[in-house]
């Protein structure tokens, strides 16, 4: 090894530029998947199909944004999937049981969603247990509460229809409307998704809080030592998950009118898959919000592309798993390069 004259002079070529682009791998994969299905599925490029693919991607992507931020902050949230159902159930049952305008349910469920987020954050900070365990606990509790409370209140496992209640139309407009531009029908979730991606990306890359997210995920002890409020940063990230779960939950309620209490289980892993394919390191400190959007888009294109290509959908999860492994390998390679130092 030939040491440079002055060890503190950066004499090597600028070669680590790609480290600032964690979403590069996901972008390439997204383009490849898009081209692939454009060729093999004739109905894939129709405007109506693109609308359906974007809708599928948005229902994953809305949650992938906060989940990616949380993973960059070094934590998991396994309760994210059922929390979506919880907010939809809360909103529906509050409005129905109180015979209130639907906005009352919407606001109460927002409070519940933020409550779940702060509970997760508080438990994490107070117990010092890994977030995997803490949120596994809240995941199971919410799964049971969803079923138990719904059955207690409604008598069945799904909520009563609220489509004829006052305020439904305006809530429907905000969360579940759709409009058509030149044959392309875009649902409200697509706009929410885009807005959240822009907001999340801006917070991560352009704000002081974003700097803290990277720091608490990269090395919480180092961050604490320079004065970053680690527990508060993580709690805010859990609040973000709660907020987005509320958005998606309200969409489910106002587009489907009733809510099934047993749903949402398993989706938390899909959100994590989208974030990881998008370049988030499972160990924290590295990743991108735009990447999570690309991950969700890949998910949407693959799951619906297989239908458009008229293939047997039995194999879908296999392809998804393979893609996840490839993404994770690429990411860990990047991390090793970044941690090892120059020229090695």
């Amino acid at each position: 090894m030939s040491a440079p004259q002055d060890v503190l002079t950066d004499t090597g070529p600028v070669r680590h530029r790609h480290h600032s682009r964690p979403e590069l791998g996901a972008l390439l994969a997204a383009v490849a998947v898009f081209l692939f299905f454009s060729v093999v599925a004739e109905s894939f490029l129709r405007p109506a199909s693109i609308g359906t693919v974007l809708y599928a991607a948005s229902t994953i992507g809305i949650m992938a944004v906060p989940v990616a931020l949380l993973m960059i902050g070094g934590e998991f949230d396994l309760s994210a999937g059922v929390a979506v159902t919880t907010t939809a159930l809360t909103s529906s049952m509050i409005s129905y049981q109180l015979t209130a305008i639907t906005w009352v349910g919407v606001l109460v469920s927002l409070a519940v969603a933020l409550g779940i987020g702060s509970l997760n954050g508080w438990l994490l900070a107070r117990t010092g247990l890994p977030s995997f365990i803490v949120t596994l606990g809240t995941f199971l509790m919410l799964t049971g509460a969803n079923l138990g409370v719904t059955k207690l209140v409604s008598g069945t496992v799904s909520t009563k229809p609220i489509g004829d209640m006052q305020g439904f139309a305006s809530c429907h407009w905000l969360f579940a409307s759709q409009f058509t531009v030149g044959g392309l029908t875009l649902k409200a979730t697509v706009w929410w998704w885009l807005g959240l991606v822009v907001l999340g990306s801006w917070i991560l890359l352009r704000t002081r809080f974003g700097n803290w997210i990277f720091a608490v995920g990269g090395d919480a002890a180092a961050a604490r030592a320079v004065g970053v409020p680690v527990a508060r940063t993580k709690t805010c990230l859990y609040l973000g998950v709660g907020f987005c779960a509320w958005v998606l939950g309200q969409h489910l309620l106002f587009s489907f009118d009733t809510v099934q209490s047993g749903e949402g289980v398993g989706n938390e892993l899909i959100y994590i898959v989208a974030a990881v394919i998008g370049g988030c390191l499972i160990t924290g400190g590295y990743g991108s919000v735009v990447g999570s959007a690309l991950g969700a888009l890949i998910f949407g294109m693959t799951s619906k592309g297989i239908v458009y290509a008229q293939w047997n959908p039995d194999w879908f999860k296999f392809f998804l798993g393979a893609m996840l492994l490839l993404a994770a390998l690429l990411n860990s390679y990047v991390k090793r390069r970044a941690e090892r130092g120059p020229g090695r």
Partner: protein, 329 residues
């Protein structure tokens, strides 16, 4: 050299180890016998999609699919199948089918209201819809031509009547999906048509060893029980094991058919099975869509077309066995 030897050894073992009964070869022979009939219609190549709320790898839905595929082959139809157990996923899949401008759509309506919007979209696109399996109360309202399936309450009542006729006194109805309305209706229907005691037990249907232990524990705890009633074929097999574990001579009756259920009927360990003929739901679904396209025919006169309940006992078992083995019953 050692490679050649081991290759020869492997071949010898293979030849010596061939089974003369059962296995893949027997299955292939059976399916050749089934599919020898070719397409006999002169209609153009239509496309029919089926979107269900089935979970991945469900044997019941595989039988539905087989029926649909068989009818599609006969009617010169391209059959597309997709499924998602979650509301949101099933809605998106129906949308995707409409995007493809299919010529007919078969949808299971277990999620009720949620499918109103995508089915309205199908109607606007001029795609005929038939609902299958579950959700007959929504079928007409959502603009479906008809509904093909079994009324769960009626099926439950059939089970209750049969239980009473067989002289059962104290029955345990095993619900394996907590929160499934159809399963609740089956148990409630059985209770309504049955004069004796009927209690329900909730078990975890995706964790069969746990379900087996739960049923066995209940049997040991309650000596008055003389019958176990399960609601699906896999749970019937699990229930049989639990009965053995508990060392109790109770009767097991079930809904739905499967290889082990038929074997049980033949051996006398299963009393009766209430079948809803899943094959028929898929087959008739595709065939009725073809008839509608070809001749504007519709079956049922605005009422559901019922494929069940059909109560099967030991007398039917021998004839059923071969059909279950090839996966069409």
């Amino acid at each position: 050299m050692p490679r050649t030897v081991s290759l020869l050894l492997a071949l010898t073992l293979l030849a010596a180890g061939c089974s003369s009964t059962g296995g893949l070869r027997a299955e292939q022979a059976r399916s050749r016998a089934v599919s020898s009939a070719g397409g006999a219609v002169d209609t153009p190549r239509w496309k029919v999609a089926m979107v269900t709320h089935a979970g991945a790898g469900d044997a019941f839905w595989d039988t539905v699919r087989k029926g649909a595929e068989q009818a599609a082959a006969k009617d010169n139809i391209t059959f597309l199948y997709s499924n998602d157990a979650q509301t949101q996923g099933q809605v998106q899949l129906v949308d995707a089918a409409v995007d493809q401008k299919v010529d007919g759509l078969l949808v299971s309506l277990a999620k009720g209201e949620a499918l109103a919007a995508p089915l309205a979209r199908a109607k606007a696109a001029g795609i005929p819809v038939i609902s299958i399996n579950s959700g007959q109360e929504f079928s007409a309202r959502f603009g479906a031509l008809t509904h093909i399936g079994q009324d769960e309450t009626t099926a439950g009542q059939a089970a209750g009547t049969t239980l009473a006729a067989r002289g059962r006194k104290d029955v345990l109805c095993v619900i394996h999906e907590q929160g499934n309305i159809g399963q609740e209706q089956r148990c409630a229907g059985a209770r309504a048509a049955f004069s004796g005691q009927l209690q329900t037990l909730y078990v975890d249907g995706v964790n069969l060893p746990d379900a087996r232990a739960s049923i066995a524990a209940k049997l040991q705890a309650d000596p008055a029980l003389d019958t176990v009633l399960t609601l699906s074929a896999p749970l019937a097999a699990t229930g049989l094991q639990a009965v053995q574990d508990a060392r109790r001579s109770v009767e097991l009756d079930t809904f739905d058919l499967g290889t082990q259920v038929v074997a049980g009927l033949q051996a006398g360990t299963v009393g009766f099975a209430v079948d809803q003929q899943p094959y028929l739901q898929g087959y008739e679904g595709v065939d009725l869509l073809w008839l509608y396209r070809y001749n504007l025919d519709a079956l049922g006169g605005g009422k559901p077309v019922l494929t069940g309940p059909q109560v099967l006992t030991k007398d039917d078992a021998a004839a059923l066995a071969q059909y279950v083995a090839r996966g069409t019953r």
